[in-house]
Symmetry: C2
DNA sequence: TTCCGACTGGGACGACCGTCCCAGTCGCAG
DNA sequence: CTGCGACTGGGACGGTCGTCCCAGTCGGAA
C-alpha cells in the first residue's frame, strides 16, 4: 500500500513467495499466486521484477539473511555469559535444541529454504545460487563455533571451517528428519545426538562430559528397545 | 520394445522419470518428457498409468528398493569378515566413505531421491509418501547398525532405532552438502566426521579409537586454518 | 499545479501442461 | 487363424503458465 519505494514491493513479493513455497512448494509459487499473496496485481509483479527467475534468485540470496537470529541463541554477538553454560557440550546442546524449537515453531520456514535449495541444485544454471545460500549458512555456523571455541577453549581435530560445515550438515539432516516425520520428540533426540556428534569432533573426549550418560557400569543398548544391559 | 508385460512398461517409465528428475528436477518430469525418455508414445503413458501422480507415488515407493545395495558394502547380509575391520569406528568409516563414493559415482541418483522427498513433503496429501520412503531408509540403516553392533559389541546410549535414524540424518546432511558444493574431498571429510559422530552415540569413548587423531600432547584447532597448536 | 514514479485493470500472446480419445498396427498365446 | 493385449500416431480439450502491453489512477515531491 505504501507508494514510494520499489524495493518495498520487491520485498513484499519475496515474502509472499517464501510463504507460498513454505506452504505448497516451489511449483505453487507462480507469478499470479505470488502477486495475489502479496495483495498486488499481476502487472505489479513484472513491474518490480524482470522475470520470475529474477525473483527466485533474489529470494534465495536474501532469505538467509532474515533468519540468522533464529538459528541459535545469538552466538554471533559476544554478549553471552560463560558461567551459565560452561562446557562446549552444553553450548552445543542449547544451540541444537534452540534450532529444533525454531523449527517446530515455524515449520514452513525451513521447509521453504530446503525446497528452494533443491530447486536451485536441480538445474546447473541455478546451482551457484545454492552455493551462495550455503556459504551464508557456513558463515553463520562458523561464528557460532568460534564463539563456543573462544568461550570454552575446545580444541577441534579439524579446521574450524570443517567443523562449521559439519554443523550445517547436522542441521540439514535434522531439518529433513523433522519435515518428514513431524515428530517433535524424535527431533529433539536427534538434537541430543547432534550435540554429542559435534563434540566428537573435539580433540579429547575429556573436553566434554555427557551429562545424559546412563548409569555407570555396563549400560547401553545392544539390541531391541527393551534391553538396556 | 518388449511386448508382453505391462509392468515392464511401468518400470521403464519409472526409470525414465527418475533419470529426468535427477537431471533437471521434478518440474521437468512431465508426462511427455517421461514418455520420450522411455522411448514411448505419450499415449503409452496413460496406458500404463492412470495419472502422473500415480507414477509419482509408485516412483517413491519403489525407488528406495533398488538402491539398497549402494548405501553400504553389504551390511545387510551376514557375509562380512569381522577380522578385516575390528572396531565399530572403522566399520562406520568404511560405510560412510562407501556411501560418499556411491554419491560421487552417481550424483543424479540421490539428487533425484532428495528432490522427490522435498516434492512429497511440500503438500500435505503427499507427505505420507515421504514417510514411507524414509521408513525404508530407517530399516536399511537399522540392519547396518545391527550388523556392526553384533560384530563389534558396541553399546549405544540410545535405542537402535534412534541410532539408525541418526545414521539417516547424517547421510542426508552429507548428501545435501555434496549436491550443493560438489566437492569430493570436502564430502569425504564430512564422512570422517560422521563416523566419529556416530560412535559418539556409543556409551564409552573407550569403545572407539580414532585412528585419525592428531599428534599427542595438546594439538587441535582453535582458530584459523594455520594454527594447529 | 505539474510531473513522476508506483501501481492497477484487463486483455492478450504463445507455449506447455495433464488428460482423454480412437482407429490402427503388431506379436505372441490359444 | 483368431484374438487379445501391448503399443502407436495424431488430434484435441480445457486449463495454467510466464510474459508483454497499455491506458489510466493516484500520491507526494518539485
Amino acid at each position: 500500500m505504501a507508494h514510494h519505494p520499489v524495493s518495498e514491493t520487491r520485498a513484499a513479493l519475496i515474502r509472499a513467495a517464501l510463504a507460498i513455497i513454505g506452504r505448497d512448494g516451489v511449483e505453487a509459487a507462480t507469478t499470479r499466486a505470488i502477486a495475489a499473496e502479496a495483495g498486488l496485481a499481476l502487472a505489479s509483479f513484472h513491474y518490480a521484477f524482470r522475470s520470475r527467475d529474477e525473483l527466485m534468485a533474489e529470494l534465495i540470496r536474501t532469505a538467509v539473511d532474515e533468519e540468522d537470529n533464529a538459528i541459535s541463541p545469538g552466538y554471533a554477538d559476544e554478549s553471552f555469559d560463560p558461567a551459565t553454560a560452561p562446557t562446549a557440550y552444553q553450548h552445543a546442546q542449547i544451540a541444537f535444541h534452540a534450532y529444533v524449537d525454531s523449527l517446530i515453531a515455524d515449520p514452513d520456514r525451513e521447509k521453504a529454504m530446503l525446497a528452494l535449495t533443491m530447486w536451485a541444485v536441480a538445474k546447473a544454471e541455478t546451482r551457484p545460487l545454492a552455493a551462495i545460500q550455503y556459504s551464508k549458512y557456513d558463515t553463520l555456523a562458523r561464528s557460532a563455533v568460534e564463539a563456543v571455541t573462544a568461550l570454552t577453549g575446545v580444541r577441534w581435530r579439524m579446521p574450524l571451517d570443517e567443523v562449521s560445515r559439519f554443523v550445517v550438515v547436522l542441521s540439514d539432516g535434522i531439518t529433513l528428519s523433522w519435515l518428514i516425520h513431524n515428530d517433535a520428540e524424535q527431533t529433539h533426540r536427534m538434537a541430543d545426538a547432534a550435540a554429542r556428534a559435534l563434540l566428537a569432533q573435539a580433540v579429547s573426549p575429556g573436553d566434554y562430559d555427557y551429562d545424559t550418560l546412563p548409569e555407570p557400569g555396563l549400560p547401553g543398548y545392544r539390541a531391541d528397545e527393551g534391553e538396556e544391559r
